[in-house]
Amino acid sequence: MLAHPFDTILAISRRELLIAGSACAAAATADAQSAPAPRPADAPPPPASTITLQVNGQSHRLTLDNRTSLLDALREHLHLTGTKKGCDHGQCGACTVLLDGRRVNSCLTLAVMHDGAQLTTIEGLGTPARLHPLQAAFIAHDGYQCGYCTPGQICSAVGMLNELRQGIPSHVSTDLQARPQLTNDELRERMSGNICRCGAYSNIAEAISEVAGAEVRS
């Protein structure tokens, strides 16, 4: 029988906490932005690029390690934590933002590829005084529970409604050449890139339908 993990953990003594290797154990920095630990002398200069991102109407100049995903640039460098990380591999949609008006998974693109691009995140949709219609609809229709997938759902819905307006068909569009309508099947197919583990799907669908319907009516 395996030892219980709590047994193991609670039985540890200070001795058992190993700090491997002294060479890199620089004193913990008081400020995350201060100079990092010294690199080995012969390592090449870290590959980084300087870019300008327009996020929610504000310009940000950033010098980033090339590997930084757009998602991490938003969350860790710009401290815009509204956009969420769920899977980091483009499968769950929690990281959806609007890039030049199109919905994309920010986890699967590099920040350095978007010098000069216009980005809208959940923080940029609407204001406290004037919510974006989708935000208001999500409230009215209780379109969330834990709320973690919600920013991605809302941004994805904004992008999706744009695509619908542009007449872009989907996998379930029966007539490929016709102007697509937002039927129940269409809405679900188009939003299938956004997972909700709380299962608030029907309320999300209602919220989106209401806004789509209002657009059709207006």
Binding site: F6, I12, A37
Partner: protein, 719 residues
Amino acid sequence: MDMPVQTNKSRRGFLKTQAALVVGFSLPLAARRAEAAIDPVDSNTFAPNAWVRITPDNRVSVVCGSAEMGQGVLTAIPMLLAEELDADWKLVSVQQSPVDTAYNNPAFGMQATGGSSTIRGHWTPLRTAGAQAREMLLAAAAAQLNVDASTLRTEKSHVIGPGGKKIPYGALVEAASKQPVPEKPALKSPKDFKIMGKPTNRLDTPAKINGTAKFGIDAHVDGMLVAVMARAPFPDAKPKSMDEAKAKAVKGVQKIITIPSGVAVLADGYWAARKGRDALAVQWDMGPHADFDSAKVTSQLEEAASSANAVAVDKGNPKDAAANATQTISARYEVPYLAHACMEPLNCTAWVKGDEVTLWVGTQSQGPAQGILAHVAEATPAKVKINTLLLGGGFGRRFAPDFTIDATLLSKAAGSPVKLIYAREDDMAAGYYRPASVVRFEGAVDDKGAATMLRAGVGSPSIMAASGFMKIPENGVDSMAVEGLADHPYAIPNQRIAYGRAEPGPQVWFWRSVGHSQNAFFIESFIDEMAAAAKADPLQFRLALLSEAPRHKAVLELAAARAGYGKPLPKGHVHGIAVAESFGSYVAEIAEVSVAADGTPKVHKVTAVVDCGMTVNPQTIARQIEGAICYGLSAALYGRISYKDGRVEQSNFHDYPVARMTDMPKVDVHIMPSSENPGGIGEPGTPPLAPAVTNAIFKATGVRIRSLPIDTEALKKKA
């Protein structure tokens, strides 16, 4: 082993909470003020107990000790209190409490959220807290107006006096604070409820729709290092080698620290930590587990199920009944380990400074964490502060202390704040799964088509033993391994239900609806098999056996009526039914399903009827039932954690699929009016879903699904 938790009274275990949730209790309300709450209590605040604060501007702030993971406690807790307080709901707000025994969940005796217990546990205490405050306000107003308190009434945060004179509560703050705190204030009769029982919008808006809502993963502490861990692929595996030089060469990596659960790389940011961890390339000594695989799990569970002898139910004479039966049937059922797969990957930010520990985390178990972390950090329990942030899904996973322990150990070793983040792949492989389980059934029906015998042997790991704070009782029955099966509602005269413990190795834990999640699938499928053996309609067969279970019967009958059970359905569509009680609530689900030629089932609609006693927020109840159905659907269609060569095979949502919007059926939830005490609502919607769907599949195809996830190969039309 005992968990060193600080409580101010004897600890109640989960068992007791399931048996009969305590409505009366003793919580020392008088003179109870919480230490160091979010808003300081000063002379300008009326705060007769830990939960309510009223300020001169007439606003009411309710302090909530429960964790919010989408189940609506941040709204329901205030509703309980605001009702008895007669507050104007528009003036009510909520704030998260610190960790403090004042906020112990009365159902558990510790500050923790789970077991669908928040409403049940707080039903009387929070109402009492609101009523207390109301009586003190009335007494203060009576003194001010020089009348008898009986001539006054309250309405929407005002005391109404003779001649209609209205005094806002805010004007009575100082005077009310001087009143004695009544121990047993009168509570409203449910027929007088104005707030409870009405669909009410959440209070955690607009933060959740504008990006400002803060989850654990959003925490930021200046000077923090971000940690990503190489965690043992199997419990007890030990690191045997690693490439420290390569990890250190990654820009931004600051430290490499080994703790019991694995090796952590700490860096300035997530990517550096992640790349450092990958570069570390830890090689693991898997010991005896190097060839562990799912086949081994199954064989161990089989063995345990076959030899199960910890008897949970022993009634009549099953052996004789079997011998004399007209017809006996037997079947073997199996379900796999399941991951919780919360949308927000596991994380915890911790800062150990001397004998103080501060956490920023989404956790379901603040109370236990305080004690455990004080121990691991060698700190003073009272100096363990937990900032409870929002949870991006809990489902029981965030009740476990593993990620908080690791973050605390790392911060202590690093001497700085540490934010531990799990990549989705790490989260998926990190254990604490819903147990895999096998059951062997035997049943008998007589020549009149009545069920006369039921025998079941369950083989599965023990959550009680895994929990760290419960023990398997002397009779050897892990109540969680058999809940939903041992306490099924059917009046079958001869029964023997026994548990056999198997411990294949993976760490197991509470998963939404716990043992009910597999046992409802087991029993509701086998009852359906017995109905088929008796050539009876599944609904009628069940109803005949529910003579001792009126609440089960009522929800099942109503669900059948609402679903149009027995009436014509569109071509290819069939109904499957299931009913289950868990956590004090009774849920019947009827699934309308069709099966395509390639074997893919499509669930078109689920009709659910829930009897959860008196309701607080019917809007939340409907969402929770629908959400629990979705969670159950993912498990029925896709969920499976499997092992090969000692490692979990699944890593992300491409190989651990979950229900998407395209899978979601239409759900019709009906809440049965009831004057019973409230039951739980977070979990009860999940257990009936899988069997309702698989019972429908049997009706559609003649193929009985006895293991999950549903194998569509078996359902393909042979043509």
